[in-house]
């Protein structure tokens, strides 16, 4: 009985990824692309069920921008631990991948994958809205897998 329900349930749950944005010292370039271009009404991500949540406790997909500055490392770890399982981590921009222009600075500690298990990385400085949307679609695919694993127990 439950086995039959699992597949439609998984499809259903996959249609509700809530996004939480975390800025770990980004220059705001990626945030502008992300918040005011990719998540705006024109490209309307709410058709995938995406909802921007303000609280990390409501998040399913956490979107990280910035190279992880030393000063915000502690806060980032604390916020990340408040996001309930299952979750998907997506990074936007070159900074989370390599540190980009800040990479040799004493004040940053890239890459993000050193700190958190990153699933999707969108490269670019800043990436185009279409690249970010593509990243969202890939993140939602991974989210569906995670949901499946969670349902299997």
């Amino acid at each position: 009985m439950l086995g039959v329900l699992k597949k439609p349930l998984r499809k259903m749950i996959a249609g509700s990824p809530w996004v939480y944005r975390m800025n770990t010292g980004s220059c705001n370039g990626c945030d502008v692309e992300l918040a005011t271009v990719a998540l705006c009404p024109r490209y309307d991500t709410s058709r995938f069920g995406v909802k921007l949540s303000g609280s990390p406790k409501h998040a399913d997909i956490v979107v990280i921008t910035g190279p992880m500055t030393i000063r915000c490392k502690d806060a980032a770890y604390r916020i990340f631990s408040q996001i309930p399982e299952p979750k998907v981590v997506m990074t936007v921009g070159n900074c989370p991948i390599s540190g980009n222009v800040f990479q040799d600075s004493y004040a940053v500690d890239p890459p993000i994958s050193k700190h958190f298990p990153v699933d999707v990385s969108v490269a670019g400085c800043p990436p185009s809205p279409w690249a970010i949307l593509d990243g969202f679609v890939k993140a939602i695919e991974i989210w569906e897998q995670r949901v499946g694993e969670r349902l299997e127990g």
């Binding site: 249609g15 058709r47 609280s55 406790k57 309930p84 399982e85 969670r150």
Partner: protein, 325 residues
């Protein structure tokens, strides 16, 4: 005796109680989000999005913050749901008798509408978060502001429906029967009270322009901030069910009455669908259209608004009814 108890339990859990309200309420919210999106020229989420969100939240990890009072934190989501389900028991739908009828059902309704708000307050104040505390204080201020006009509206309806002889009737079924041929909606003396009730709906359901309690962009969901997983799902379900409950109360007070004569299963189903449609119409006019077109007010503006416009409108209505115009 046993059959009667079983029937009441069925009423409580299936129709018109928990299950029915949950499905209708979640669809109300889904249609609301879709229409708001279309008004804002977006594609918008599918209509069954609230169901997806509910299923998602049910499988998510459930976190309880340190410093929260654990008992109240897990109890709070149920307060709203229980309040509105019991409230619905007193609301007659489409010409049928309500499952529970008493001489004072009317007063119980008035208090159960507030209980739904108390659920949110308990949720916020038990979760040990400053944002939640701000949300709770805002909710309290709003409830105090709109409850005054709500009481005046209820009194107006009670006095109007008493007919000759009695001063007021507090039985919901008498109020509904009184309107069999003359719905209060088409009565000029009751029109200000109806408008005042419509104005209360956005604050009561936490919709813009009076969504100061949840205000995502300033106090990040307010009382719900610390909730996750199944408890958050129940809180959202409660607020969706409350939408249907409050709109049903408006329908019962101002334009009850079925589409076809009562009696028989088919007519009953048609009447219930008609009632749901009317409740949705109330939600559409007072909730969807208003929230799609207006921005959020500050909390002091909201309180001032509720202590002036709806209060004055409802008092005008009360005066007209008392003067028997």
């Amino acid at each position: 005796m046993l059959i009667e108890v079983l029937e009441k339990l069925l009423n409580l859990f299936v129709f018109p109680g928990f299950l029915f309200m949950a499905v209708i309420g979640l669809y109300f919210v889904g249609i609301h989000r879709k229409i708001v999106a279309r008004i804002q020229r977006r594609i918008g989420p599918p209509i069954d999005q609230p169901f997806k969100d509910f299923a998602k939240l049910m499988i998510k990890e459930d976190l309880t913050p340190e410093g929260a009072s654990k008992g109240l934190f897990s109890l709070a989501p149920f307060i709203t749901i229980i309040g509105v389900v019991i409230g619905m028991m007193f609301v007659p739908m489409g010409g049928m008798e309500a499952p529970l009828t008493t001489a004072g059902g009317f007063l119980i309704l008035l208090y159960l509408i507030t209980v739904a708000a108390i659920g949110v307050m308990v949720a916020g104040s038990s979760s040990a978060s400053p944002y939640a505390a701000v949300g709770v204080s805002r909710e309290m201020a709003l409830v105090i502001a709109y409850d005054l006009s709500l009481i005046v509206i209820f009194l107006t309806v009670a006095i109007k429906a008493a007919g000759t002889g009695a001063v007021a009737t507090f039985s919901v079924s008498e109020i509904v029967n009184y309107q069999a041929n003359r719905p209060f909606l088409f009565d000029l003396t009751m029109l200000p009270a109806f408008l005042a009730f419509l104005m209360i709906i956005p604050a009561n359901l936490g919709l813009p322009p009076f969504d100061v309690v949840e205000a995502e962009t300033e106090i990040v969901e307010g009382p719900m901030i610390e909730y996750s997983g199944s408890k958050l799902a129940l809180l959202q379900l409660g607020s969706a069910m409350k939408a249907f409950f409050v709109c049903s109360v408006v329908v019962a007070f101002f334009f009850p009455g079925g589409l076809v004569a009562a009696g028989g299963v088919v007519n009953g189903v048609i009447n219930v669908i008609w009632h749901v449609f009317k409740a949705w119409l109330v939600y559409f006019v007072a909730g969807t259209l208003v929230s799609a077109s207006l921005g959020r007010r500050r909390v002091d503006q909201a309180v001032r608004f509720y202590l002036t416009v709806p209060l004055v409108l409802s008092i005008i209505s009360l005066g007209l009814v008392l003067a028997k115009v």
